[in-house]
C-alpha cells in the first residue's frame, strides 16, 4: 500500500528555473489549442464535422501544464474532450482536423472523429467516449510500463501514466475499481480529474459526494493527492512536477483534482440552462492564456510584438491545417473493413463484406 501524503501548499517555483523557450512554448501550445477549438466550432457549424464535438476552451492550462511535467514517452489517456491533450502532446493539428472531418489522413483514418484522438508515436492512447472507461485502461498502460521495466527489459524507464477524467467520471464504478486496483498493484498512474464544475448539465455538487474536497476520494484508496488551481499553467506545472517525480521514483499512484472551467457548452448543442452568464464571465476573467502571456511579458522579456507574432503564426498554422484536412480524401469504402481484424476480412469472409462492396456474388 502507498503511504498517504498530501501535498504541501507552498511549493518551490520550479517553472521559473526552466528555459524561457519552454515557458514560451507553453503559451504557444495553449494558443494553438484555443485557435484550433475556435476553428473547430466554426467548421462544425459549417457541417464539416459530424457527430459530437467537445470543446476544451478554458481548460488549456491543464493539458499543457500537466504534460509539461512528464516525459514525452510517458503514456497519456483521456476521455472525449481530447483535442487539447492531443495537441499538447505534439499531434499535428492537420491530423486532428482531418480526423474530425472524417478524412483518411486523420489520426484514426477518419473513422473515429472528435472523441477518438489517438497518436501512438506521441504515446497518446486516445480519447475515449464512455465516461470513466479510460480509468481501468490507464491501469493497463501503467502496468505494462512496469512490466516492461521489471520483467522484459530489466531497465528502468520508470514511466508514469497520466489518466485524465472529468468530474462526472468520479461517479462511475470504473473509476473506483481503477483507483482500488492502482492502490493494490501500486502502479505509477496519476488520475487527473479535470474538475470543470459540470458533467453536461449536472453540477458537481448535485452529482458527487465530497465535491468540496475531492481528495477524499484518494484517501479512501490510500493514495497521495492534491487539489490544484488549473487556471494558471505555471501553477499546474509547479504542483504536478513533484507529484510526477514522486510517482516515478516510488512507483506509486496519485490522484489530483485540477480546478478549471469549460467556457463553452458541454458539446455543440447545449442550452447551458444550468449555469449563469455571470458565472461564465467570472471564469473568463481569469483566463489562463492571458495570465501566462502577461507573466511572460512582465517577467520574461517577452514583448507585445513577440506575442502578436506568435498569435499570427498559430493562426496561420491552424488555417493551413484546415485547408490540408479539407483536401484529404474521404476514406474509400474498401477502408471500412480494414482493421476490424488483423486479417483484412477477418473470420467472416463470405458474410457481409462482399455485399458491402457491391459484389454481385454477395
Amino acid at each position: 500500500m502507498t503511504t498517504m501524503t498530501t501535498r504541501p501548499a507552498a511549493l518551490e517555483n520550479l517553472a521559473t528555473k526552466l528555459p524561457d523557450e519552454t515557458l514560451r512554448k507553453w503559451l504557444r501550445d495553449m494558443l494553438l489549442i484555443r485557435e484550433l477549438e475556435v476553428r473547430t466550432m466554426q467548421a462544425y457549424q459549417n457541417k464539416l464535422i459530424g457527430g459530437f464535438c467537445h470543446i476544451y476552451i478554458g481548460q488549456e492550462a491543464v493539458a499543457v501544464g500537466t504534460i509539461a511535467a512528464v516525459k514525452p514517452t510517458d503514456p497519456i489517456i483521456t476521455a472525449y474532450r481530447d483535442h487539447g491533450h492531443a495537441l499538447a502532446r505534439g499531434m499535428d493539428p492537420k491530423h486532428c482536423m482531418a480526423e474530425m472531418f472524417g478524412r483518411i489522413d486523420g489520426c484514426a483514418k477518419g473513422k473515429g472523429g472528435s472523441m477518438h484522438m489517438f497518436d501512438k508515436a506521441h504515446h497518446m492512447y486516445g480519447g475515449h467516449g464512455i465516461v470513466g472507461a479510460q480509468c481501468p485502461i490507464a491501469l493497463g498502460l501503467a502496468f505494462s510500463v512496469k512490466y516492461h521495466d521489471e520483467v522484459i527489459e530489466e531497465k528502468t524507464s520508470n514511466g508514469v501514466t497520466l489518466c485524465y477524467l472529468g468530474d462526472g467520471a468520479l461517479n462511475q464504478g470504473s473509476f473506483h475499481e481503477a483507483m482500488n486496483l492502482a492502490g493494490v498493484f501500486n502502479l505509477p498512474v496519476i488520475y487527473i480529474c479535470e474538475n470543470n464544475g459540470y458533467a453536461m448539465g449536472t453540477s458537481i455538487a448535485r452529482g458527487t459526494t465530497m465535491a468540496h474536497q475531492l481528495t477524499a476520494k484518494a484517501d479512501a484508496y490510500g493514495m497521495a493527492s492534491a487539489s490544484i488551481d488549473g487556471m494558471d499553467v505555471v501553477n499546474v506545472y509547479n504542483q504536478m512536477k513533484p507529484i510526477v517525480d514522486d510517482c516515478r521514483k516510488n512507483s506509486c499512484p496519485a490522484f489530483v483534482e485540477i480546478r478549471t472551467y469549460r467556457y463553452k457548452g458541454h458539446s455543440m448543442s447545449d442550452p447551458r440552462k444550468y449555469r449563469t452568464k455571470e458565472e461564465e464571465q467570472q471564469y473568463e476573467e481569469q483566463d489562463p492564456i492571458e495570465k501566462h502571456a502577461a507573466f511572460l511579458i512582465k517577467e520574461k522579456g517577452f514583448s507585445e510584438a513577440d506575442h502578436d507574432a506568435m498569435v499570427k503564426d498559430v493562426r496561420k498554422q491552424v488555417r493551413a491545417a484546415i485547408k490540408w484536412a479539407e483536401a484529404s480524401p474521404i476514406p474509400d469504402i474498401s477502408e471500412l473493413y480494414t482493421d476490424v481484424y488483423a486479417d483484412k476480412w477477418g473470420p467472416y469472409t463470405g458474410t457481409s463484406e462482399s455485399s458491402m462492396l457491391g459484389d454481385p456474388e454477395k
Partner: protein, 322 residues
C-alpha cells in the same frame, strides 16, 4: 388529434402516464432541468417536480440498479440511458438482475420498468452513439424489446411498455426523432407488445424490418413498382412469428432489413423461423440487407453502412426475379 414528431409523441405518452399513475418515476442523466440529450423529457421536470423527474449522477449501472430496486418495491420507474452505447455499463444490471428477478424469486418479485434508449445511426454521430444492439438484448430471456418506427406507434407502444408487468427496453430510433410528423390521438391508446404491423400489403415479396429502416423500406418499395408487403415488427422480442409466416406463405419471398451488423443479427433468427415454417412455400433464398460486420463507421461513411433505400431496392429486385 395532433400532428406530432416521434419526440413529441413520446413526451406526450410520458406526461399522460405520469398523470395517470403516480408510481411512475423517471430518472436519468440530465433528463430533468435540461430535458435530456434529445429533449424527449422537456418540460416534465417543471410539470412533475424533481421528486418524480430525477436528474442522476453519471452512472448507468447505478441508474439501472436504482430503477430495479424501485420496481421491486412496487414502483414503475422509467430510466433513460442517453445512447445505446451506454447501455453497456448497465448491461450487468439489466441482464443479471432485471431480466431474471421474476424467475429467480419464482414470481415473488418483479421488475416492471421501462428503459428508454435512443438507438441507431443516421444522425452523424460516431460509434457508441449510432449502434444497433437490439439483438443483444433480444437474446436475454426475461426482458422485452420494443422499437417503434412512427410517432403513432411510439405513443401506443410506450404506454403498453410502461404498463407491462415485465422489464421492457424501449429503443427509440434517433434518426426518426424529428424526421416527420404524424397524426397522433391525444387520448390514450395502447398498441399490444408482440404484435407486428403490416404497413403495406402486397403479394410479390415480404419485407420485414423495424425502427428507422422501415422508412427506407417504404421508399424502396415505392420505387420498385412491385406489389410488396412490408411488415414492421414493432416488438423485437417476443417476435410476431405468425404475421411473418402468414405473409411469406403468401409471397414465397422474403427480405429482412436491419441496421445492426449481419452476423448474429435478428435477421438470422427471422430467416430461421421462415425456414422452419415456410420451407415448402419459398421461391427464392431469403435475403438480408443489414449493416456490416464492423464497428459503426463515423459520419462520412454512415450512409454506406446503413441499409438505405437503394441497397434495399436492389435486394427486392433480385429476390423478386429469382
Amino acid at each position: 388529434m395532433a400532428n406530432l414528431t416521434l419526440v413529441q409523441a413520446i413526451n406526450l405518452a410520458l406526461i399522460q402516464e405520469m398523470e395517470r399513475d403516480d408510481r411512475i418515476i423517471i430518472l436519468g442523466e440530465d433528463i430533468g432541468v435540461n430535458g435530456g440529450v434529445f429533449r424527449v423529457t422537456e418540460g416534465l421536470h417543471k410539470r412533475f417536480g424533481e421528486k418524480r423527474v430525477v436528474d442522476t449522477p453519471l452512472a448507468e449501472s447505478g441508474i439501472l440498479g436504482t430503477a430495479i430496486g424501485l420496481a421491486m418495491a412496487g414502483l414503475r420507474p422509467i430510466p433513460e440511458i442517453q445512447f445505446e452505447g451506454f447501455l453497456a455499463p448497465a448491461y450487468d444490471q439489466i441482464c443479471t438482475h432485471a431480466a431474471r428477478m421474476r424467475s429467480r424469486t419464482r414470481g415473488a418479485l418483479t421488475v416492471p420498468l421501462t428503459v428508454r434508449v435512443p438507438i441507431g445511426g443516421g444522425i452523424h454521430a460516431p460509434e457508441l452513439h449510432s449502434d444497433s444492439p437490439e439483438a443483444v438484448y433480444a437474446h436475454q430471456p426475461g426482458i422485452k424489446v420494443v422499437m417503434p418506427s412512427s410517432p403513432y406507434d411510439a405513443k401506443g407502444l410506450l404506454i403498453s411498455a410502461i404498463r407491462d408487468p415485465d422489464p421492457v427496453i424501449f429503443f427509440e430510433p434517433k434518426r426518426l426523432y424529428r424526421a416527420f410528423r404524424e397524426e397522433v390521438p391525444e387520448d390514450e391508446y395502447t398498441i399490444p407488445l408482440g404484435k407486428a404491423r403490416v404497413v403495406a400489403e402486397g403479394d410479390e415479396v415480404t419485407v420485414i424490418s423495424w425502427g428507422a429502416p422501415v422508412v427506407q423500406c417504404m421508399t424502396a418499395i415505392e420505387a420498385s413498382g412491385k406489389s410488396i408487403e412490408l411488415i414492421d415488427l414493432r416488438t423485437i422480442y417476443p417476435i410476431d412469428t405468425q404475421t411473418i409466416v402468414q405473409s411469406v406463405r403468401k409471397t414465397g419471398r422474403a427480405v429482412i432489413v436491419h441496421e445492426a451488423p449481419k452476423n448474429c443479427g435478428l435477421g438470422a433468427e427471422i430467416a430461421s423461423r421462415i425456414m422452419e415454417h415456410c420451407f415448402l412455400y419459398l421461391e427464392a433464398p431469403i435475403q438480408r440487407v443489414t449493416g456490416f460486420d464492423m464497428t459503426m463507421p463515423y459520419y462520412k461513411k454512415e450512409l454506406e453502412y446503413l441499409p438505405e433505400a437503394e441497397r434495399i431496392g436492389k435486394a427486392l429486385a433480385e429476390v423478386a426475379a429469382y
